[in-house]
Symmetry: C2
Subunit: 146 residues, 2 copies
């Protein structure tokens, strides 16, 4: 049962939002001079890791709809960082690959992003890292419908 000494409930939703917002803002600020947004960086990184990956696959990896991913890809293609080509065996899938310019931009951006990831790790602290990571994963799992 409850009593007057119960601590007030912690607003984890707010804390989560604030931390994520701070991270996102920091990434955006770091990438702006390179002409990249955070989602664009994430996509370049994924396309680099999985050459020829499809739009649908990228969307699943980023937890966004295919329509949203398509918008990001269209902008990257327009900017010459990425090119889309027909899949050799499949008539519908379009393969996404980085251009030389795309690889170059990704290389630059990666350094900045790694710095910021470092700040995050440092803020968490090595002794809490594993527990913190597990708690975040539990949150995501608990809120993701089966």
């Amino acid at each position: 049962m409850s009593n007057a000494a119960d601590p007030p409930p912690i607003q984890f939703g707010y804390l989560l939002k604030r931390a994520q917002h701070a991270f996102r803002t920091r990434i955006d600020d770091a990438l702006r001079p390179l002409g990249l947004t955070a989602p664009q960086y994430a996509v370049l990184s994924a396309v680099d890791a999985i050459a020829g990956v499809s739009n649908a696959e990228l969307a699943r990896a980023a937890f966004v709809t295919p329509q949203a991913m398509q918008g990001v890809l269209a902008n990257l293609e327009r900017d010459g960082l990425l090119k889309r080509t027909a899949h050799p065996d499949h008539g519908r899938i379009l393969r996404n690959e980085l251009t030389a310019e795309g690889r170059q931009a990704l290389g630059q951006a990666r350094l900045h992003v790694q710095d910021i990831e470092g700040l995050l790790s440092q803020a968490v602290g090595q002794e809490n890292a594993a527990l913190f990571a597990e708690a975040l994963a539990r949150c995501a799992d608990a809120l993701t419908p089966a």
Copy 2:
């Protein structure tokens, strides 16, 4: 110094994004039947807490630009959940207040959101709650430029 037994670096940015995305999606799903979005709920809640609050004040509280907040307020006003009136003493500030309909919608929404906050607390676990909250706050602080 480093050696081969070093654990791989944890991608806190990714974990943060995933947890926040799951939370946001869950809230959106719960509020959709009420015709509310997550940002709209947050604003209704803030306006209820601080009657007559200005657009600029709301924007600061939500970590968004005044322009972004203005868009949300415009939609809420269009839907009759909120009304904006001139400040009695200040010629520029517009006071925001809930309508009866807005208070009613907020009441409904609050129940759903509290349920989801409860899932989050449960996922974190009571024994980790304080440490987890502190770690999240440290992350936000470390990434927020002074």
